[in-house]
């Protein structure tokens, strides 16, 4: 299943409905739903927040993968950004040193089974697998 979403946080509600439909249609185990919702939102929010030079919609694709789900988000006409290269968050830092930023992609890398990045012709595509093991 695939659908395009405009670059607005208000679209998260529609993405959740899209995921509901996908999980029902393919009878996917709901135990991986949280990981899918969280990783999808974090990647989408990152694209909307930092890829400001485009107003193109973001393409979301989902397909069954072994026992889980493969999810891709594609952002068009943007600079390269590979989320696998982010600096890790120090989760043991004391409160005064903790800041809200950076946790989203850190959680994605922590929770997915695998993540893949492609960049070609100014198109950035991130694919992750959840629950595939």
């Amino acid at each position: 299943m695939r659908r395009k979403f405009s670059r607005s946080f208000d679209e998260i509600k529609e993405m959740v409905s899209f995921t509901d439909e996908f999980f029902k249609t393919h009878d996917i185990d709901n135990s991986i739903r949280y990981v899918v919702d969280l990783c999808m939102e974090e990647l989408f929010v990152n694209m909307v927040t930092y890829d400001k030079e485009t107003d193109a919609d973001i393409l979301l694709e989902m397909s069954p993968h072994e026992h889980g789900v493969q999810v891709s988000l594609t952002d068009f006409d943007v600079d390269r950004f590979d989320p696998r290269g982010i600096r890790p968050v120090d989760i043991n830092a004391p409160l005064e040193q903790r800041t809200p930023g950076g946790l989203g992609l850190y959680l994605v890398l922590k929770m997915v089974d695998s993540i893949h990045y492609e960049y070609r012709n100014r198109t950035s595509k991130i694919t992750f697998v959840a629950g595939g093991k």
Partner: protein, 103 residues
């Protein structure tokens, strides 16, 4: 559907999904709190990093003058997110009672 409100006992109750689309609303509500605060998360279904940021920002502000946020009735899957984020080391967290074991 997201909702944040005071209960009759003064506890702040959060319902539904605290995602990036709702974070500003939650922050606005919590910014009005000036003293120690208990957050009842029994009905919180989902939280993303945007929601975690709201909790962290509020906790830091309140800790500078007192006791900060206390998070109660936290479900196991929300607690997993707190642990991945290191929030278990920053907040007082009480996990929800799972109830009687079914046979």
């Amino acid at each position: 559907m997201f909702q944040i409100e005071f209960s009759d006992t003064g506890t702040v109750v959060i319902h539904g999904r605290l995602d990036a689309a709702q974070a500003a609303r939650a922050q606005e509500f919590l910014d009005e709190i000036a003293d120690r605060c208990i957050l009842d998360l029994a009905k919180l279904e989902y939280i993303s990093s945007a929601g975690l940021g709201v909790l962290l920002r509020t906790h830091k502000r309140l800790m500078s003058g007192g006791e900060g946020l206390r998070l109660i009735n936290v479900s196991n899957h929300i607690n997993d997110i707190f642990m991945y984020s290191g929030f278990d080391k920053l907040f007082r967290i009480e996990v929800a009672d799972p109830g009687p074991r079914s046979q």
